[in-house]
């Protein structure tokens, strides 16, 4: 009985839907504010994302005639479900996540791809040429960053010798952060660049390039369904950041300052915010690449970084 209650609380409140949504919306609000300041604007208040999503949720629900299909409606919900599930698998308060699985890294890698796949399906089913073009670009982009992302993770896995995220976090608590290991540094850089592609941030916002293909797969979405997409994207942002934090940056650590016990969740929030702000900085100092240029960039420079790291981990003891 207790277990069921715990599970429901875990998936709906902390660290599930409610917590993930609040932090996701807040962090994107911070991202927008920081972007504004980088661009010499005042920018919206940091709770603007709450207002935007709230407004979208209260709008009329319109489905274009060409997009009348269950796939079109299900896509954002499945995407949101997938990223919230990843929240349950991430170490947030301590090395132990809300849901423990054997080899949870593989599950996380799969789940992190679901939003991308949902977006492609949503784009193809929307019946708009922009949606189809965006989905087509997304397929190419997925093939660009995903391999590198997995390679970088494998490098860390080989270093620690475990497929379990809690074990990796525990290892780092004793041996120091993996990012401080010179053999893994190239993999960390590659993973961060791949995350930029995963989160569709400049220079890799190609699938939803606003000036080229309107909003790509999201062109035909409006109202509550668009709100769910926004929410899924915002949660995905902290999930990816949190995943990288756990994998390379030591994960949540509880501190004792004076006599006050600082819970691990604070550390989690600080580390994810730092990673989100890094992606914010990157997206504000570059122009968008073309899809072929992005593909080439990933498969040459970034792949090289990840492979070097993997070889170093395997060869150098």
């Amino acid at each position: 009985m207790m277990e069921v209650v715990n599970f429901i609380l875990g998936s709906l409140v902390f660290p599930g839907l409610l917590f993930a949504s609040l932090i996701g919306l807040l962090y994107i609000g911070i991202d927008r504010k920081v972007t504004a300041h980088m661009q010499h604007r005042i920018g919206p208040p940091i709770w603007q994302e709450f207002l935007d999503v709230g407004k979208l949720l209260s709008k009329e629900d319109i489905t274009p005639a060409a997009a009348q299909s269950p796939v079109f409606t299900a896509a954002p919900l499945v995407a949101l479900g997938a990223v919230v599930t990843v929240m349950l698998l991430l170490p947030i308060n301590s090395a132990q996540p809300a849901l423990t699985l054997v080899a949870d890294l593989i599950v996380i890698i799969y789940l992190l791809n679901i939003p991308a796949i949902c977006m492609m399906l949503g784009g193809y089913s929307s019946g708009s040429p922009f949606g189809a073009a965006g989905a087509g670009r997304y397929v190419v982009q997925l093939f660009s960053y995903e391999f590198i992302f997995i390679l970088a993770i494998i490098a860390a896995v080989v270093r620690v010798g475990s497929l379990g995220l809690p074990t990796i976090v525990g290892y780092q608590a004793q041996q120091g952060w993996l990012v401080l290991d010179w053999r893994l540094l190239p993999a960390v850089i590659a993973a961060l660049i791949a995350a930029q592609g995963k989160l569709l941030r400049v220079p890799f916002d190609i699938p939803e390039a606003h000036t080229e293909i309107v909003a790509g797969p999201l062109t035909e979405y409006s109202g509550p369904r668009l709100a769910i997409w926004r929410l899924a994207y915002d949660v995905e942002t902290i999930v990816v950041a949190g995943f990288l934090a756990a994998l390379f940056f030591g994960g949540p650590t509880a501190y004792l300052i004076g006599n006050i016990q600082i819970p691990g969740v604070v550390d989690f929030l600080i580390k994810t915010l730092a990673i989100v702000l890094l992606t914010t900085t990157l997206r504000n100092i570059m122009a968008r690449l073309r899809i072929d240029q992005a593909l080439k960039f990933f498969w040459t420079y970034v792949a090289l970084l990840a492979i070097i790291s993997l070889v170093l981990v395997l060869v150098v003891p």
Partner: protein, 383 residues
């Protein structure tokens, strides 16, 4: 198999309504069509139904961005018709306003171009610095945008001596900023990746298709009305005509940014050499039968006004040929063979102004459906 990518009439890459139809094979563009006429206002006909004085304000409203160029060209043409000389001081003030407008227009364009390639930070920075020019325009003419400063026989507002230090200070700031932007645009890897080598307009095509302005100067064609057919004070001022040989989008960016520097240089000379004297000459409301042509180098290129008078206070005919209209045939060689991702930036690269292009006369306010304009015939000249 090819499919059609529609751009417009409403599309985030277009700031004005116009319809472009791209036939694409995968990501490659194989054919290109355009529909014109979404912003028809019948201005050419309206110009011949109103008095010469009234027409200043109508011509000013042909284009929001290059309004000074339009009124300068219009007033110049009517002054030639009536055979009156504009006082020196007015000619210098017109030059100053024209150049400030060029700076602001190029900055506006550069911002939009940065936005088209997804570089929003640069977009905001360009527009921040554009505000400096708008402040100057507001100080001189009382308006940020539509200056309403030119009138038949001269100008309506003076550049007061106390304005001069402020103008020079702002120009200094702008010059530094522009030099930095040129530096960014020629060195940033992502900008180079998106702009270099795409949307190329070969020199031959530019000449054959009678392209004008920065579009053709970026293809290495050395034309500039300010030098070739000097008006206002340009004959008394030294400046260079900026050309770049490559013809790609990057060349168009560099030409425009370097033109900003040149405009700053011109404005500085004009402000310093501002002669004393009256602001306007008298003009009679009725003009004897005559014909005249006025040409101005607007920010987007050669702007031509051709007017015929018939002895009344209304013109017999005023023909307006705007720069974007002349540049539209050049789209074809720039697009075909490119990719879909290039469309927005190449479209933006001629700095299109569709309100200008569509000014041609319609008698009523009828808009709505127009025919597809085929560019098939233009492919024949594609090198």
């Amino acid at each position: 198999m090819t499919f059609v990518v529609p751009i417009g009439p409403q599309h985030p890459a277009l700031k004005e309504p116009e319809y472009f139809r791209f036939e694409v094979k995968g990501e490659e563009i194989v054919d290109f069509d355009v529909r014109l006429g979404y912003v028809h206002r019948g201005i050419e006909r309206a110009l011949q139904e109103r008095s010469y004085l009234h027409n200043i304000y109508l011509s000013e409203r042909i284009c929001g961005i290059c309004n000074v160029a339009h009124t300068t060209a219009y007033c110049q043409t009517i002054e030639q018709l009536a055979g009156i000389e504009v006082p020196d001081r007015a000619r210098f003030i017109r030059t100053i306003l024209c150049e400030l407008e060029r700076i602001h227009s190029h900055m506006l364009w550069a911002g939009i171009a940065a936005h088209e390639i997804g570089f929003d930070t640069l977009f905001m920075l360009f527009w921040r610095d554009r505000e400096l020019v708008l402040d100057l325009k507001e100080m001189i003419s009382g308006n940020r945008q539509t200056s309403a400063s030119n009138t038949l026989g001269g100008v309506r507002r003076d550049v007061k001596p106390e304005y001069v230090p402020k103008i020079l200070r702002t120009l200094e700031k702008l010059e530094k900023a522009t030099e930095q932007y040129i530096n960014i645009c020629t060195s940033d890897r992502t900008i180079l990746a998106r702009c270099a080598g795409i949307g190329v307009l070969p020199k031959d095509d530019a000449k054959k298709l009678c392209a004008v302005g920065p579009t053709t100067r970026a293809s290495g064609v050395d034309i500039d009305i300010r030098r070739d057919d000097p008006y206002d004070a340009y004959g008394q001022i030294s400046f260079d005509v900026i050309t770049e040989p490559d013809g790609d989008v990057l060349a168009k960016v560099i030409v425009r940014l370097r033109e900003i520097l040149e405009s700053i240089h011109i404005t500085r000379q004009a402000v310093k050499a501002l002669p004393k004297g009256p602001l306007r000459a008298k003009i009679t409301p009725k003009i004897e039968p005559n014909e005249a042509i006025g040409r101005v180098e607007a920010p987007r290129g050669e702007l031509l006004y051709y007017a015929i008078s018939n002895g009344t206070d209304k013109p017999e005919r005023v023909r307006v040929r705007t720069p974007t209209y002349a540049n539209i045939p050049s789209f074809k060689p720039m697009f075909v063979g490119g990719t879909v991702a290039e469309i927005p930036i190449v479209l933006a690269s001629i700095d299109p102004c569709f309100a200008c292009t569509d000014r041609v006369a319609l008698v009523d306010s009828h808009t709505g459906k127009t025919r597809v304009l085929s560019f098939k015939e233009l492919r024949r000249w594609k090198g």
